[in-house]
Symmetry: C2
Subunit: 246 residues, 2 copies
């Protein structure tokens, strides 16, 4: 049951060519005719509610998923039983590439709130890529992006302190929102403190303390999950973003 106002995001029938996320998603670099061919293999607009799985760790890999609405996290369960968050995905982003090499998903992916997604069967995507060079190129680049993103995360985890990590996550969400034409300064955190902590390699208490400290410095306000960045430059300073990137 969709409210009238959200039809444009979640209308299950909308094609890639008409999707307002097209400029972020797989179709970039494709022409109209190529998008039509891509459209034919995409299973569009499935809806999920909070807590629903997109796939589970160990599942046979047979598709990648383009997020249309909502947010998702990926995680691994350690054999002691607790979960390690490995990724956060927002609309226009692609989840599931962790299964390509071994043919099984190495993570689980779960909806953090009500959302929807498109399923792109990988086998068909491979076949189509072989026939559409620009699609092949696009997908190589998309995987390359995933590698770069993971490596940035890696660098952060091995050299930044708690404050820098939290600031960097906020900046990441902020800029991803900005790309989607949403506010870069006000947004809702899709994850709990525990999930953020797991993702950033710190405890939930430390996450909470960092938020309190940043608030005390008037860099942002925190109202539960609602974040309002008051001083973007200062936040970038905390994250130790190089001057050139500011």
């Amino acid at each position: 049951m969709q409210s009238r106002a959200r039809v444009c995001h979640t209308n299950p029938g909308i094609s890639c060519g008409d999707c307002r996320l097209g400029e972020l998603c797989l179709p970039i670099a494709l022409d109209a005719q190529e998008i039509t061919r891509l459209d034919e293999i995409v299973k569009r607009g499935r809806a999920l509610s909070k807590g629903d799985y997109l796939y589970r760790e160990g599942d046979v890999f047979n598709a990648i998923y383009a997020i249309r609405a909502g947010s998702f996290k990926t995680f691994k369960s350690t054999w002691e039983g607790d979960e390690q968050v490995t990724g956060l995905f927002l609309p226009g982003e692609i989840v599931g590439m962790d299964g390509i090499s071994s043919n099984r998903h190495g993570n689980s992916a779960i909806a953090l709130e009500t959302g929807s997604f498109c399923e792109i069967p990988f086998h068909q995507l491979e076949e189509l890529s072989a026939r559409i060079p620009s699609l092949q190129g696009r997908f190589f680049r998309l995987m390359g992006q995933e590698i770069v993103k993971d490596q940035q995360m890696l660098t952060m985890l091995s050299s930044n302190d708690a404050e820098e990590r939290v600031a960097a996550l906020l900046l990441s969400i902020s800029s991803r929102n900005h790309r989607r034409k949403l506010s870069a300064t006000q947004f809702r955190l899709p994850m709990t403190r525990a999930e953020i902590g797991s993702y950033l390699g710190i405890t939930l208490e430390t996450v909470s303390r960092v938020f309190s400290r940043l608030q005390k410095q008037n860099i942002l306000t925190v109202d539960n999950k609602e974040i309002h960045v008051l001083d973007m430059a200062a936040l970038k300073g905390v994250a130790r973003v190089k001057p050139a990137d500011c």
Copy 2:
């Protein structure tokens, strides 16, 4: 100047079909005729000595590199000036995929000892991939492996302590050696303590202390860079490898 005994590794003229690393490298899954076509685009057998760069951070990306002999590290320079090691590459492995998405290398890659490599121009690889589906598939899988590897590293950095990280690195080198038909229990560390520390997100002193402790427990002997694993099961225990993987 190559010694007689090493000719088989480093003979610059050897083709992919004859290379004894073929079963680890790009050609897996290709038939003889396809390998011939791949051979035509590969620039083979360049030699490098310790400290030579394969590429530098910021360089325009135009090729990926298959390691033939020796070992390489990748790293980023933080704007404070110190370097963050992001990867270790051994023969049969592919370096340079970090440049695919943005067309510029996000890391530098440098030889840790005398070595050699093959250069595979990416543009030509893309073209060839579009015409050889099994090559396209192989390359998708290779990139997928890189993603999985980075994510494992990520999980390790956010949830394992110093001892677990060092143990995991040793096990990783051990199993990669094993795949190359070398000893899984005796090998030379290609990196200094400082490089290992940077890679694992700990200080060089901590790396040294962990080695001392593992030695005291008779799990291994350390003679400078020479490692001899005495008790593989115990080492796996320290690394908290799940029982199933042992």
